[in-house]
Symmetry: C2
Subunit: 191 residues, 2 copies
Amino acid sequence: MKHEDQINQQTEEEVSNLDTESDDSVEFEAENSGFEPEVTAEEARIAELEKQLEESSQRLLRVQADYDNFRRRTREEQAASLKYKSMSLIEQLLPALDNFERALQFESDNEQTANLLSGMSMVYRQIQEACKNEGLEQIDTIGQTFDPNLHQAVMQVEDESFEKNTVVEELQKGYRLKDRVVRPAMVKVNA
Amino acid sequence: MKHEDQINQQTEEEVSNLDTESDDSVEFEAENSGFEPEVTAEEARIAELEKQLEESSQRLLRVQADYDNFRRRTREEQAASLKYKSMSLIEQLLPALDNFERALQFESDNEQTANLLSGMSMVYRQIQEACKNEGLEQIDTIGQTFDPNLHQAVMQVEDESFEKNTVVEELQKGYRLKDRVVRPAMVKVNA
């Protein structure tokens, strides 16, 4: 980075030198207007070289600017793709987690089923924990003000014991991966 | 890309022109050795400009080369990070999947447990399917030649009915995410 900044600075100095010099030559021509100016081979060569040098410097500035833009854009893209990298697997896991939760709501009528359910609850928590470590969060529902970005209203009720426009029941969990909604929660809203 | 290639080509032409010219000036000085060469202001200016132009061209080539390298490296890194993006979530899910499998090996002694197990088997397959879609594959074990990259030998047996150095039993599943081993399979090997 340091090295490139140096290059940049040098180039800018050269370009500003060039500007001054070409201004001079314009004045010179203006003073001699009306005459055919005598240009020696050396003067022609100097003019040619100054032109080439300016072109080369401009090209350098352009490439350097392209490079800087590309680097900035790349950094932004990499940060975003890192942040949401688990999105696609999580999206596919959610239907399995829904079914898992439904199965855990089994009411056991014997000890074996109760044991199995308790083992399965542990597995469910492990999976939830793994997803949480990747940034998955459940969307808050009951008691929250209805928010169309987070909640999908599939039913309406009229219930005096809740404020208006408030979520009164959660029908399916909603999830957010960091600040991005994976899917909204399905809810019942107080009209 | 096309535009940049053009720049590159132009620059190379300029640099090779410069090389020819600076060779000439070396010869000139050699012919005049022993004398103090008379250098006019114009000649000095030409020499100075030629030097600056060469430096500028070299700098342009260097920046362009850095840029090209950065672009290539970025492409490779992006491809790799996309390919293995689900690695960290999958690594965390595997212990849950191990426990899930153990729970599914419950021998049911009543209909309710059997129903619950059948529902849970479905959930397990859904999770496996989601992971498979991200590139997760189980490592082949029984009957395979022992491979220390894929298999971790935790037991040895001597069994005439198997070839030597062959996996005879799987103690824990191993997984590969595309071509990268997530964890080797724990196996019993025929000595």
